[in-house]
Symmetry: C2
Subunit: 198 residues, 2 copies
């Protein structure tokens, strides 16, 4: 980085610290910023800081939002008795894009991972259990189908079962349009185990 | 983007406007920023704005730098009579990394492109000609070997020749470690034309 002046080096360094941005991309981004009109740069710079400063957890579902209560939890047309549990806000957005889920969410902000030292107290699980003291019909566990996601799903279902609330897990199997020959064995086995009568 | 709150959407939008960052990466970056400690976010945000505000052209070579004169132009140990002409500051840095060039640079900030409507007056060419009124031994043209880079090289050499200053062009050919079978025909022809006696 000695080939650039101090402030350019600093900018390249900041960009390279972001995920998925290597040394070359960081350079490209830095020079792009230097060539952008000042007002666009101000807009980028302030969007970063303002989002960080103002975005907080929804006090019900813990998704990241600008207000105290997120638009989904505010929406009285949705079924507040069906709660889908997801690992993060991006997963929530992925389900929202389907436009078919009419319940509400609960965002854990992580998954239990003994390997990484993340336990049940490090995710928003207590907060979920408190919500379940209200009248809830069903909890749909939509954590990822990774080792951590499965561990978390198992843990949550064991925790909820004694309350008598119905707990379900999203189906695991072959993705639509997926070509069997490129799909891993575990997924193929899951798809077989989860087969349905036609 | 309706799946996210206003400030998150704004941040995702800002990131997607950067080159090489698609919708998915922009989301990943946005949530990464939201999870970063506030002081790191402040540092990123201010590096962007400060670099834009403080970085300017070196008054001799027009590279992007923090000071009025860049470290290379300030360096009296370098040969100020040999000027390498490059398209941008990244190309300058690429040659600096070789550590073998002891002359100075001139940064054009672009290349002549009739297709894009970029003419000789849109790049720092007049500024180069003014520098050549001083005592200069050689001008090495190191613009890219693209159509625009070649056009620019040709144009500059015609402009300089009447002054009697030596004008050279960096060699074009097979990159070191390049596998002939994967190299385009134009490069192969250039390599053949530029062959040297062993």
């Amino acid at each position: 980085m000695d080939y650039y002046s101090k402030q350019i080096s600093k900018l390249i360094e900041e960009f390279s610290s972001l995920p998925g941005i290597g040394a070359k991309s960081a350079q490209r981004l830095a020079f792009h910023v230097l060539n952008m009109p000042l007002e666009q740069v101000e807009s980028l710079s302030s969007a970063i800081l303002e989002a960080k400063k103002n975005v907080k957890y929804c006090k019900f579902c813990y998704t990241l939002t600008d207000d105290d209560v997120c638009p989904i939890c505010k929406d009285t047309a949705r079924n507040h008795k069906v709660i889908m549990v997801v690992e993060n806000t991006r997963d929530l957005a992925a389900y929202e894009k389907t436009g078919k889920f009419e319940g509400v969410y609960h965002v854990l902000h992580g998954a239990i991972s003994p390997m990484l030292g993340i336990g049940p107290n490090d995710i928003k699980l207590k907060e979920l259990m408190i919500r379940l003291e209200q009248d809830v019909d069903e909890v749909i566990i939509a954590t990822n189908s990774s080792l951590e996601g499965e561990t978390t799903a198992m843990y949550i279902s064991k925790l909820i079962k004694p309350t008598g609330i119905k707990v379900t897990r999203i189906a695991s199997g072959v993705p639509v349009g997926g070509d069997l020959e490129y799909i891993d064995e575990v997924t193929l086995l899951r798809a077989l185990e989860g087969r349905t009568v036609l």
